[in-house]
């Protein structure tokens, strides 16, 4: 943990705050009498077993008192940079009287400040600072020695790639900001700080690139963030729900990511990111539906591969939404649509099935969702048992018992696979949810019902916005320049412009395209 890195940190052990009396204490000032101050401190942090109090003799006639919360500070640092100097200093120069400013003379810690009110002291303590109270002064010295064990930078769990950086965000805000800063070495990268949550005092950073992001949008987000009044923020999901444009829409209007490179790419396209302390998931916005269909690897692999995979993904998006509905509609209403051999083999498979297709499909889809949910929550060792059970019971046994037809199992598993090809989990969930209205409408009205539902969703999507930007931006409204990164990705040497909607002020990525093909040399 770099000393210059942090200024504030988070500790959300709620028992720290429980003994806190009402505001007057926060405004109360320190007294000259050390004993009374100690008493006060102990009263404020009553029943906080993680508090450490330490009396020290700094000079012959001067006592000092030092307290901090164990676990969130770097104890070794305190020992070597504070306690040792004081104790050795006391032994070495007994005549010292310059203890008015110990931060200048004894303590070699970089982040130091002074406080006179208890409010500032509390803020300091809960943000991993050591407070030094001296007898005879009304000023407390606060040294930030943030420490404590938190997870280190690891490979992102939810967004693995074959090719691409393996660093993922962690729960520590400063590590996360640093991960972005490593990639964007420019003072134009802004990191505006917020503290949200009355009890959690969660640090939140709004990050954007000046000159690329739309200032109006940044002002708007700032305003929305400032308006949040809540007791605690435990995950960026809180923020997402509190500031998104259309809370009733099933479609995610912000993307979350564990990958610093994804955040950087978003910032470079004129978007912004919201980093929340305590979670590795960083929110990025504004997003479009197309963006949620992109994976970071699309940009790292050669464009042929990326294009192929992206088109494949859109095909499977279509399958994930429509396939069960289409199957139900065709089997219950429009048998004429199928080729004869197919319709006969489906009829043969369904001959002994006791349920109508709709019931069969709903049963299987719900079972599949339950299976998936069970797989996520269970410990890894048990998870395997679930998949075996699922494959055997729902797959094979149900078919053999004649409860479910084999084509239905194929449809459900194909749909399941299709929904896993969607790179963003939140969009995948939306798609899985939307499947059910499609199925019900298909089972009641056939293709007509599918069309109604689709139009309904389309109408919803066209008026959906993400921080004021249209959700289907690029297609509706249509921007020709954006086509190079929606359904396909053009090679990087053709990616001259940033997306037209977001980075309007400064939309050139590069001066001109460079095609690396060497020109035939005359000398040859």
């Amino acid at each position: 943990m770099s000393k210059s890195g942090g200024s504030q940190g988070l500790i959300s052990t709620s028992d720290v705050m429980l003994g806190l009396p009402s505001p007057p204490i926060e405004e109360e000032c320190l007294q000259k009498d050390l004993a009374r101050n100690i008493e006060m401190a102990k009263k404020i942090f009553l029943d906080c077993s993680d508090m450490v109090y330490r009396d020290i003799q700094v000079a012959q006639d001067q006592k000092a008192f030092l307290f901090y919360i164990e676990g969130i500070v770097d104890s070794q640092e305190i020992e070597s940079q504070m306690l040792k100097p004081f104790i050795i200093g006391y032994v070495e120069n007994e005549d010292e009287d310059s203890l008015e400013s110990p931060q200048n003379t004894r303590v070699s810690l970089s982040q130091a400040s002074k406080a006179t009110t208890w409010g500032d002291i509390i803020t300091g303590v809960i943000n991993a600072s050591v407070v030094l109270l001296m007898d005879g002064t009304t000023e407390a010295h606060i040294f930030n020695v943030k420490g404590g064990v938190r997870r280190g930078v690891e490979e992102p769990q939810t967004e693995t790639v074959i090719r691409g950086p393996r660093e993922g965000f962690t729960e520590t805000l400063r590590v996360n900001t640093a991960l972005v800063r490593f990639r964007l070495k420019t003072p134009k990268l802004k990191m505006v700080s917020f503290v949200i949550g009355d009890e959690t005092k969660t640090d939140i950073v709004l990050s954007y690139i000046e000159g690329l992001a739309d200032p109006k949008q940044i002002r708007d987000v700032t305003k929305r963030l400032k308006e949040i009044k809540i007791d605690g923020i435990l995950e960026s999901g809180y923020i997402e729900e509190l500031i998104e444009d259309h809370p009733y829409s099933p479609f995610p209007q912000m993307q979350y990511t564990e990958r610093p490179d994804t955040v950087t790419a978003q910032l470079l396209e004129g978007g912004f990111a919201i980093l929340v302390d305590g979670t590795p998931f960083v929110l990025i916005a504004p997003v479009s539906l197309w963006q949620l269909m992109q994976a970071s690897e699309d940009y790292y692999e050669r464009f042929f591969i990326s294009d192929f995979i992206r088109i494949l993904r859109y095909m499977f998006l279509f399958i994930a939404i429509f396939l069960p509905g289409l199957y139900i509609a065709v089997i219950t209403f429009h048998q004429d649509m199928l080729p004869s051999t197919l319709v006969l083999s489906i009829a043969a498979a369904r001959e002994a099935i006791p349920f109508p297709v709709l019931v069969e499909a709903l049963m299987m889809e719900i079972a599949f969702e339950a299976l998936r949910e069970a797989g996520i929550r269970l410990p890894k060792t048990v998870g395997q048992a679930v998949s075996i059970l699922g494959a055997l019971v729902i797959g094979q046994a149900a078919v053999e018992a004649g409860i479910v037809s084999a084509p239905m199992v194929i449809i459900v598993s194909l749909t399941g696979i299709a929904s896993f090809t969607i790179p963003r989990f939140n969009l995948a969930i939306t798609v899985r949810l939307l499947r059910f209205p499609f199925m019900i409408m298909a089972g009641t009205l056939g293709l007509f019902g599918i069309v109604i539902t689709f139009v309904w969703i389309l109408v919803h999507l066209t008026h959906l916005t993400s921080f004021g930007r249209p959700y289907l931006e690029g297609v509706s409204p249509y921007y020709k320049k954006n086509q190079k990164d929606i359904f396909i990705r053009v090679p990087w040497w053709k990616m001259i412009h940033r997306p037209q909607g977001t980075a309007r002020n400064n939309n050139k990525r590069m001066e001109k395209g460079i095609n690396g093909t060497p020109k035939p040399d005359k000398g040859w």
């Binding site: 009733y248 089997i331 219950t332 209403f333 048998q335 004429d336 004869s340 051999t341 319709v343 006969l344 083999s345 489906i346 009829a347 043969a348 498979a349 369904r350 001959e351 002994a352 099935i353 109508p356 297709v357 078919v399 053999e400 004649g402 037809s405 084999a406 209205p437 019900i440 409408m441 089972g443 009641t444 009205l445 056939g446 019902g449 109604i452 309904w456």
Partner: protein, 395 residues
Amino acid sequence: MDMKKRIVTLTAMVLVCPIFLSGCWDRKEINDIAFVLGTAIDKEGSKYRTSVQIAVPRDLGGSSGKSGGGKGWYIESKLGKTIRLSSQEIQSNNSRTVNFSNRRSLIIGEELAREGISTIMDVFTRTPQNRLLPMVAVTEGFAYKILDTDASIEQFPTEMVRELILNFTKEPISIKTVLTALLSEGIDPVLPILKVDESVPPKVGEPLKNVRIAGLAIFKGDRMVGTLKGDMVKIMTLSMNQNKNLEMSIPAPEGEGDLVFLFKKNHARFVPVIHGDNVTMKVLMHMEGAIVENASNFSPSNEVGMGKLEKSLEDKMHKDITKMLDIVQHQYQADSVGFGEIIHQQKPKDWDRLSSRWKDIYPHVKVEIETDVQLKTVGQALQPMGLRQEEIIHD
């Protein structure tokens, strides 16, 4: 907020309504449907006999079906004043809704075909459930006999009929093709004739009943007027530019035995020459092919030899086409090749003048035939393989 609530409520209502209102009234599970795979139509006195082949999914061996050992289909046959009425009779016999959308083929009995087919075509086109894709054929004798064949290589006899007809011509003869021919003045329909054939003679083994295409039914207007058999069938499809793989044999120009040729490329071009009411149709037949069997002792080892073969093929073609056209033009007076349609396309103004009298003019159309046969891709395999050098007659 209030507005939003109202929108949400309204949307919910609109979405919920169809579920309760519709009651899924059109819902018909796939297992409440009897799929008709093929229809055979015969005339019995003044009534129509409709025989349908209906799939039995239980016997088709689905994943859970322990195949009951059945054939996978059964036949129902009913009489009615019209085809629709006889179909209704079939429906009243059936617990599942009879569905015609997957009909593979439509088979017409000879008697009905001779009486005219235009009246029966309506029912196969009117409702959307009927596709225009079923293959159409005529039978010798009764049509329903075709339905009850073994056709063991396909799942259903009607499927066999379909595949046979699909392979028979370049553009398959479906209801659509027949309707087009029926409705245009300058061409008369031609339909394949189906025949039940035994797979092996009884002395070889137990015969299975198979279906084969035994010839072509020549129609004049909507009435079947005659048949073409044997080699004439190939020549007819060739003239219609519908032949897929034409195999032909000629005796060797020198020596003994026959040679067989396969013509993969063939094209007939027609050029009408019109002076008043005198119509001359120039037929330019171009064929490219190769030797597929040399069962003679003749070796066409150079251009001269090939030229001889080409010459005798051209002569044979000329003779055959003349003969074929003579039959349809003078004996049946049916415009099967579609001379009228050719004039319609190439000389529309003349056609406007002639079309009303085409039936009278057609038998008097003069035909000039030019054939051009090219043998290609013979490679090195020129000589008969099994003969010694001195046995071979070189050209």
